[in-house]
């Protein structure tokens, strides 16, 4: 699969899974997709190991865009990218975009064969800053 992959990282596993359902409904199997959510101990939160696993699962040579919800999800995702390290790290971008809307839009863009830069730009358009 040469399309950009999408990873969804929420504090809530329900939000992450439901968002993945919505993405799948729009793009089917045209986009590598993985999600994770929860602190790994049954509570709300995010888990670096799970994020690294999701990145592996959605890996594409075209790169991976990560959609996150609140602060901790972003910080943990950036940490995960750093731990994955080069040469893959520079092909992984944590988007500054709302998680649900950003994932659907980014995946839709990715399904058309857009580059990582384009996919991320599409998601960023949903954000004020």
């Amino acid at each position: 699969m040469s399309n950009v992959g999408i990873v969804i990282v929420s504090h809530s596993p329900l939000v992450a899974e439901g968002t993945a359902d919505m993405v799948r409904q729009m793009v089917g199997d045209e986009v590598p997709l993985a999600w994770c959510g929860g602190n790994g101990h049954g509570g709300l939160g995010t888990n670096v190991e799970a994020i690294m696993g999701a990145i592996d699962k959605a890996w594409s040579e075209a790169g991976v865009a990560i959609l996150v919800d609140l602060g901790g999800a972003e910080t943990n995702s950036e940490m995960a990218v750093e731990m994955i390290g080069e040469p893959r790290a520079h092909k992984i971008i944590v988007c500054n975009a709302p998680i649900v809307e950003g994932a659907v839009m980014a995946a839709t863009e990715a399904s058309g064969g857009a580059s990582l830069r384009e996919v991320v730009a599409t998601a960023h358009e949903l954000s004020p800053s």
Binding site: N39, H41, L44, T46, G72
Partner: protein
């Protein structure tokens, strides 16, 4: 100099890492409810649980960590915290320890400790896209570093940390979940700052206890 103190001029003597790990894990466990309550007031109320999960995971492998040279031990502890804490504080404290491990020598002198600690605080700020004055753990880390630079004693440093944590009370949060509350974050202590103060006291008391 006495072994294990934060003596300004000499070489830091080897402190027993296992003792340090259990002292930090103990204080976090003892104050977990307090940390959670602080986070509940202006956040999501998981900080105590997050920190406890992380430091207990470190404690569980204390033997293995203590067997490594200090730089590798600190990096491994940081990685363990990153992998287990589950909140924003995980990558932040994790980065603190990992960067500390990166900058420190196997047998650090005071100058090396000062420099490595300073770099580690910068790494936390970079990870959190944050700076001093935003009501976060940085508002305790920075004064503690200043106190180390000034050659203060361990007891003095621990007091500086407590005072810095208390000084987050009137601040308005600009980072982390507490920032969602805007002005309503004023009047509460930052949970992460309180954690730093607890850790600092545990470390200095543990070191001086070994002295």
């Amino acid at each position: 100099m006495s072994p294990g103190t934060l003596d300004k001029t000499g070489t830091m003597d080897k402190v027993d890492l296992k003792t340090l790990i259990s002292a930090t894990a103990d204080t976090i466990a003892a104050h977990a409810d307090e940390l959670t309550a602080l986070d509940q007031a202006i956040g999501d109320g998981d900080h105590g649980l997050n920190m406890k999960r992380g430091f207990e995971a470190v404690r569980a492998e204390a033997e293995a960590f203590a067997a490594k040279p200090l730089p590798e031990a600190l990096k491994a502890i940081g990685t363990k915290l990153v992998m287990t804490v589950g909140g924003a504080s995980g990558p932040l404290f994790g980065t603190l320890f990992m960067a500390l491990g990166k900058g420190i020598s196997a047998e650090p002198d005071h100058a090396n400790l000062e420099a490595a600690f300073g770099k580690a605080i910068e790494a936390v700020a970079a990870r959190g896209k944050s700076q001093v004055g935003q009501k976060t753990m940085l508002d305790v880390l920075k004064p503690v570093h200043d106190a180390v630079l000034q050659g203060k004693t361990g007891a003095e440093i621990a007091d500086v940390a407590d005072n810095a944590a208390a000084a987050t009370v009137p601040m308005k949060a600009l980072r982390g979940r507490a920032s969602f509350l805007g002005d309503r974050s004023i009047g509460h202590m930052d949970a992460g700052g309180r954690s730093v103060a607890l850790l600092v006291r545990a470390v200095v008391e543990s070191i001086e206890g070994q002295a």
